[in-house]
């Protein structure tokens, strides 16, 4: 996918314009995002990289609508997210977004299938149907035989695969991933990314991944480098067999 020329660029699924976010007040005020402009397109995997403290996680939180911004505009899938109330943002998030976290954030008391079903339960889908759909997703991520396992009985890689299934179960159009391989060793990280690319990527979905892990850069389509609160570069990632 190439968005280097404006003439060929489709309309953005996520559009960020002039995003500013600060924390603290007075002498302790720290500006973390200093006017971010960024478009993310359907069908692509965008990597957000950069040094620690550069604002990656803050930007991710802003895109997800779980952090209020000071200035700018965020449009997600045609919805002016920055203008919505917190309650409406929460509802929209539940319907349109999926999340994958560094620490998995699985509920320890729930089985793998029940964990995957949680986003559907939040959407008030009945438990039997939700668990049924969760099992289908677990099959897709290769954990069909682990559906009744508690998270503590799964390896780190398996837990992250459960988290991927959970992120996809409500068929989100925006998948937000925060350091998805940071808690995993190299081979497991690679497997998780392969899986994420295989089952997460779709023509009507965009995936945003914050990562430090250079070993997984090749899984992305584009890479935005965020340094000191500014996007200093956006580059397409060359893939084998492409120019």
């Amino acid at each position: 996918m190439d968005h280097s020329t404006e003439q060929q660029a489709p309309s953005a699924a996520v559009s960020l314009r002039g995003i500013v976010k600060s924390f603290g007040t007075g002498d302790t005020k720290v500006t973390v995002l200093r006017g971010i402009d960024l478009d993310i397109y359907l069908g692509e995997i965008l990597l957000l990289v950069g040094e620690s403290g550069g604002g990656k996680t803050t930007l991710l939180s802003a895109i997800a609508g779980i952090l209020d911004i000071d200035d700018g505009a965020i449009d997600v899938l045609g919805v002016p997210l920055s203008q919505l109330s917190a309650a409406k943002r929460t509802t929209f998030r539940g319907q349109a977004m999926g999340f994958i976290y560094q620490q998995f954030n699985l509920l320890p008391a729930l089985t793998a299938a029940e964990n995957v079903a949680v986003p559907l339960l939040i959407q008030k889908i009945g438990r039997a149907e939700a668990v049924q759909r969760a099992r289908v997703l677990l099959d897709r991520v290769g954990l069909g035989d682990r559906a009744e396992f508690l998270p503590k009985n799964l390896s780190g890689g398996q837990q992250q695969r459960v988290a991927i299934a959970r992120a996809l179960v409500n068929e989100p159009r925006l998948l937000i991933c925060d350091e998805p391989t940071a808690a995993l060793d190299g081979p497991n990280g690679q497997k998780v990314m392969e899986l994420l690319r295989e089952v997460g990527r779709a023509p009507d979905r965009c995936v945003v991944i914050v990562t430090h892990d250079s070993r997984i850069f090749h899984f992305g389509d584009r890479m935005a480098n965020l340094t000191d609160g500014r996007i200093v570069s956006i580059e397409s990632i060359a893939r084998e067999g492409t120019a």
């Binding site: 996680t57 991710l60 939180s61 997800a64 779980i66 952090l67 309650a87 929460t90 509802t91 998030r93 539940g94 319907q95 977004m97 999340f99 976290y101 560094q102 620490q103 954030n105 509920l107 320890p108 008391a109 729930l110 029940e114 949680v118 986003p119 339960l121 939040i122 959407q123 438990r127 925060d178």
Partner: protein, 376 residues
């Protein structure tokens, strides 16, 4: 999400058990102490309830049922003459010492009932026939007298003892509510009671009366007061007057009140703190739920469900334990224990307050929670 909430609650077994123990202990303490307190209050007005008559007439300055202030013998006729009174009978009540054949002395409460009607007699007789009280020198004891005066080997039907150097022969044992002072009660006829006690100018302790069925008891009681100048009380009012006197003049109310209050505070502290910790430790999970689209209202509902589930479980267990305690200790009558539905409702309300408080501090924490916590 109710299912998720309950699985989260039961999944953290250690915290769940700690919460359950705290609430169970609090409920048990409050119910047990409340029941003993109320049992004591029932004992304190047993002199009223044991006689089971609707209207009590005596000196207007009387403070409680066991404080006898004798009135003129003419009071019986004066009460009978009040319109609306169906009947009125005299009652003697006073303290006396009984001397057993083995030389032991025991203080007793002598109760003299009007001989032609025996109004005020205990409803249940354990041994013998109450009507035999009409035989010469006959007395009826309550079962607590048997216990206090040496047991069934010494006090039984046919036992003879002395009251003020006059013979008294036991003809029956009656079942009564234990009294606050636990002084044995000896029943006899009014006329014989006056022969047992030393001569006094005034010997009538109470006039027991009943209103005609067509009139409210309270109205007739008011008429007796107005027309005789005596103190007239319904049985309920007299019982409450006695309870009020006990509460005001002894430390019982403060003592039990303090324990019950402490049970409430301890329960609230344990439940509040543990539940708060439970929430704080699951903050990332709650943050994840919030990020996935769960509203603050949904999370609050989950917290409330968790709090009230553990609360109501603790309520059931606490009441079960308190009831078992009451059953084991009070069935012999040795300990006052009255577990009333009013007490259980009050404890339920206290428990709901504890749960609501615990849930509230967790909900406040969650309401302020930024779901961005999951990205940290």
């Amino acid at each position: 999400m109710n299912y998720v909430a309950l699985k989260m609650l039961f999944g953290d077994r250690a915290k769940y058990l700690m919460l359950l123990c705290g609430l169970t202990f609090a409920v048990m303490l409050i119910v047990q102490q409340g029941s003993i307190f109320w049992g004591l209050m029932i004992w304190s007005q047993s002199s009223v309830s044991n006689l089971n008559v609707p209207i009590w007439v005596t000196d207007p300055g009387i403070a409680q049922v066991d404080e006898v202030k004798p009135i003129a013998d003419t009071a019986v006729d004066r009460v009978r003459s009040v319109p609306g009174v169906e009947w009125a009978v005299p009652l003697y009540k006073g303290l006396l010492r009984a001397r057993l054949s083995n030389g032991d002395y025991h203080q007793i409460t002598l109760t003299g009932l009007e001989s032609s009607t025996l109004i005020g007699r205990p409803a249940e007789v354990l041994e013998g026939r109450f009507e035999d009280i009409l035989q010469p020198d006959a007395v009826v004891l309550d079962q607590w007298a048997v216990e206090r005066m040496g047991g069934p080997a010494i006090i039984k039907i046919g036992t003879i003892f002395e009251l003020n150097d006059k013979l008294a022969r036991v003809v029956a044992i009656a079942k009564t509510q234990k009294s606050f002072t636990n002084i044995p009660v000896v029943y006899t006829t009014y006329e014989r009671a006056l022969r047992y006690v030393p001569r006094e100018r005034r010997t009538l302790s109470y006039v027991l009366a009943k209103a005609k069925d067509t009139l409210p008891v309270a109205e007739v009681t008011r008429r007796i007061q107005e027309q005789t100048g005596l103190g007239a009380f319904t049985a309920d009012d007299f019982g409450w007057k006695t309870i009020g006197w006990i509460l005001k003049n002894t430390g019982i109310g403060i003592n039990f009140g303090t324990t019950i209050f402490l049970g409430f505070i301890v329960g609230m502290a344990i439940a509040g703190q543990t539940f708060y910790l439970f929430t704080v430790e699951n903050l990332r999970q709650f943050g994840a739920l919030k990020a996935m689209g769960a509203s603050t209202f949904t999370l609050a509902r989950m917290i409330l469900l968790q709090a009230f589930t553990v609360g109501l479980t603790g309520y059931g267990l606490g009441i079960g334990l308190a009831t078992a305690f009451g059953f084991l200790t009070a069935r012999s009558g040795g300990l006052p224990f009255a577990e009333t539905w009013q007490l259980l409702v009050l404890v339920l309300m206290a428990l709901l307050a504890i749960c609501a408080f615990s849930a509230l501090i967790s909900i406040i924490k969650l309401a302020r929670l930024e779901p961005a916590v999951v990205f940290r």
